[in-house]
């Protein structure tokens, strides 16, 4: 369990945006793993299995939560989905290169939580869980166009937040 608990917790936390919920999900993941210990014990696929279960349980939780808000949150017009948003600022060649990996991780996790669910979730599935656009669309049961638009907008919203780290990462070090 110790070998995988950080990975499972990270997956759930980045997807749900809530540490408390991530801890509950991680607990459930390890209980399910314990119940299947005979199959998973020394299996080389145990890590992948744990990650998949953590992702699915997180998405189940988000789906239940989303149903309460679906009426309002999905009232997008077709135009809204098809519009190709433009980036109005210069994209830098690198990001956070001057930070160590742990500092970078802290900063990324802190700003990731500021994105709205509909941008953070596909962004995390794409950049952290390394799923394709098609896989994300299938998992979230939304159109491929919406996935691409949300990920693009998520990146565009995340960029200035990541760049702003120059002003405050010293404060985080204290």
């Amino acid at each position: 369990m110790r070998a995988y608990q950080d990975m499972v917790f990270s997956t759930a936390s980045r997807l749900t945006g809530s540490d408390a919920q991530a801890e509950d999900i991680a607990q459930e993941v390890f209980i399910r793993a314990y119940e299947r210990f005979a199959d998973l014990g020394n299996s080389p696929t145990a890590g992948g299995w744990l990650k998949t279960v953590a992702t699915n349980l997180s998405l189940n939780y988000l789906n239940r939560h989303r149903k309460r808000w679906r009426l309002f949150s999905e009232m997008h017009s077709a135009q809204d989905e098809e519009d190709s948003p433009q980036i109005e600022w210069e994209v830098p060649d690198t990001l956070l290169e001057d930070l160590g990996s742990e500092q970078r991780r802290q900063w990324v996790d802190s700003v990731l939580h500021q994105l709205p669910d509909h941008q953070r979730i596909p962004l995390v599935l794409y950049h952290f869980e390394e799923l394709s656009y098609q896989e994300i669309a299938a998992k979230l049961q939304v159109s491929l166009t919406k996935v691409k638009t949300d990920i693009f907008r998520g990146r565009a919203a995340l960029l200035p937040l990541l760049q702003a780290r120059g002003d405050s990462h010293e404060a985080m070090d204290i």
Binding site: S10, F72, D109, L161
Partner: protein
């Protein structure tokens, strides 16, 4: 390279391969405590997949038998010794009161609409318009205040 492609590449480099977040120290003890709690439960209070094989088989057989008995008794009781035509007539007889109620409602609606003062109709329309307006305002407020907190922070 287009700006959006460059953004994807820069984000990939910044986000992929980051170390995982450390799990809270309490996670391991929580998991162990929950496993112990579940193991203390008597077998019939656990989830069905953890019941002993014999108990699961007996439960499934019992339920199949109950469903079959209910179905057979129900059909036998309804049909009895009747022919298919008699059975259909009996079903129609049961439906007759419902059909009568539906037909009465259908006849009553135009009478009510004619008898209703026009002020009431305007009031109903006003309530509908108010409801739609509040719905629209709520949707705009939700999308502005809840869905785009990061955008608000950027400006």
């Amino acid at each position: 390279m287009r700006n959006d492609e460059k953004l994807e590449q820069v984000m990939n480099e910044a986000l992929r391969g980051l170390p995982p977040r450390p799990a809270p120290d309490s996670l391991e003890s929580r998991v162990l405590a929950e496993i112990e709690r579940r193991s203390m439960l008597v077998w019939w209070r656990r989830s069905f997949v953890h019941w002993p094989g014999a108990a699961r088989a007996a439960f499934v057989l019992l339920n199949v038998a109950l469903v079959a008995a209910t179905f057979v008794n129900g059909v036998a009781g309804l049909v009895g010794g009747r022919s298919l035509t008699e059975f259909a007539a009996m079903v129609l007889m049961w439906l007759r009161p419902f059909l009568a109620v539906l037909s009465s409602v259908g006849a009553l609606t135009p009478v009510l609409l004619n008898a209703m003062p026009s002020g009431w109709l305007y009031a109903c329309a006003a309530v509908g318009v108010l409801y739609a307006t509040l719905f629209g305002l709520s949707a705009v407020a939700y999308r502005t205040l809840y869905l785009r907190p990061s955008m608000a922070g950027n400006s």
